[in-house]
Symmetry: C2
Subunit: 242 residues, 2 copies
């Protein structure tokens, strides 16, 4: 072995990429940090994430931190990739903030990233004065400069989700409300897969999905003709891995 020093204060964090769907657009859950640096006040956005505790497993840390920062509990988080570019913590603001919140000298940080697909009507709460959890349009991500390498992590999560859903299309239902219209399902499908489906063919194909249940209900409070509602029974559909 070369004469290398390993006491460079490395740390391990987890970050959560949580996707939702509002009926029209894909959304990502981000934390707004409001930081008083003494001389200056600034605000930016980041993924929900933080340093893991000493005696904590990675999955446990991801769940704990997501709950602390957003109030969300029992979210099915799947680990999808770890990020360890030495440059990911090159912005002094990110490191200062972390050192301030952890009261620890922080060198390098490797983060283990998790993904979750959730229904957007779940209640988000935030109990900190300095952070706020909110849904943002995924389309706007390109114009935001998130903390650390969180833009890269979010994009990798998006491509992971796309690949996953091309293999397990039923995972789409995780993003829909319990009762949804055919238009909502098609919009979501088209955004995720990156296609424009024919309305009739799509409906014909989808109605053959085991577990898809047409309801004797229509959507209320809509401007035009009230569309029929559907639900999806996981137990009857193919296995959903998310």
């Amino acid at each position: 072995m070369k004469d290398v020093k390993f006491n460079y204060n490395p740390h391990i964090s987890v970050d959560c990429v949580v996707f939702g769907f509002d009926g029209e657009k894909l959304k990502i859950l981000l934390i707004e940090r409001n930081i008083d640096e003494g001389k200056e006040f600034y605000s930016d956005k980041k993924l929900p994430g933080s340093i893991i505790y000493e005696e904590e497993g990675l999955d446990t840390a991801a769940s704990r931190i997501l709950t602390e920062l957003t109030g969300l509990k029992n979210v099915f988080l799947t680990q999808f990739h770890s990020f360890g570019d030495p440059q990911r913590s090159s912005n002094p603001r990110d490191v200062n903030w972390l050192e301030m919140t952890t009261q620890t000298k922080i060198g390098r940080i490797v983060t283990v990233a998790y993904i979750a697909l959730i229904k957007i009507d779940r209640k988000i709460v935030f109990d900190s004065e300095s952070t706020t959890a909110k849904w943002y349009d995924l389309d706007d991500l390109a114009n935001m400069k998130l903390a650390f390498d969180h833009n890269e992590i979010a994009l990798k999560a998006l491509s992971f989700m796309r690949r996953f859903i091309s293999l397990v299309p039923n995972a789409l239902f995780e993003l829909l409300p319990k009762k949804f219209t055919m238009t909502e399902l098609r919009s979501l499908h088209d955004i995720v897969v990156g296609v424009t489906s024919d309305v009739r063919n799509f409906q014909k194909k989808v109605l053959q999905t085991p577990g898809l249940i047409p309801l004797d209900e229509v959507k209320k409070n809509v401007p035009h003709r009230a569309p029929k509602l559907y639900s999806f029974d996981k137990r009857k559909g193919s296995k959903i891995f998310f």
Copy 2:
């Protein structure tokens, strides 16, 4: 945030699960550690892996460490999962060994695991007095107690490979020699997928694979009738992700 201390000397390592196929069995590349503890001498096995350097990306670290411990260069390593159970470094021998080799106080270690499928005839070299790299039968893994949680990592890599090959069957060719017999391909397929294929049906199906090339050659130095050789042209076959 709770009053938590983060200065618990966490470290980040990478570990590589390298699979090969000897014509009959799946093999895994392991490092034999021979350790002189002063009072006692002992020997055990582990995955090729180590702590990452301060200024090194994860992929770079995995390649460097695999080369240092096995001599293998330009191996296509894919990150598949990170392991961070706090108990994974609970064996004092593992920690002592790491502290000895790194000359650093080691607390918790999270490891980022990589997988590679390689041709078993690649040259393995080892230049250390205290370690030896060798192929072992994957079947024997259940009877070996590897260092840290390396048994668990190897099993997770195996199930990752199985799932991957069920989606991208062409990845199997990474494990075969450049020229292979139909029997070798079928044995490998059956081991990985966990089935017993019908000889004729298998051959019929495989011969339709784009990129599979029947050669005007037979395998030499075999006891019975010399079997025909085949090769596989990646560029003509489906995309291989590994």
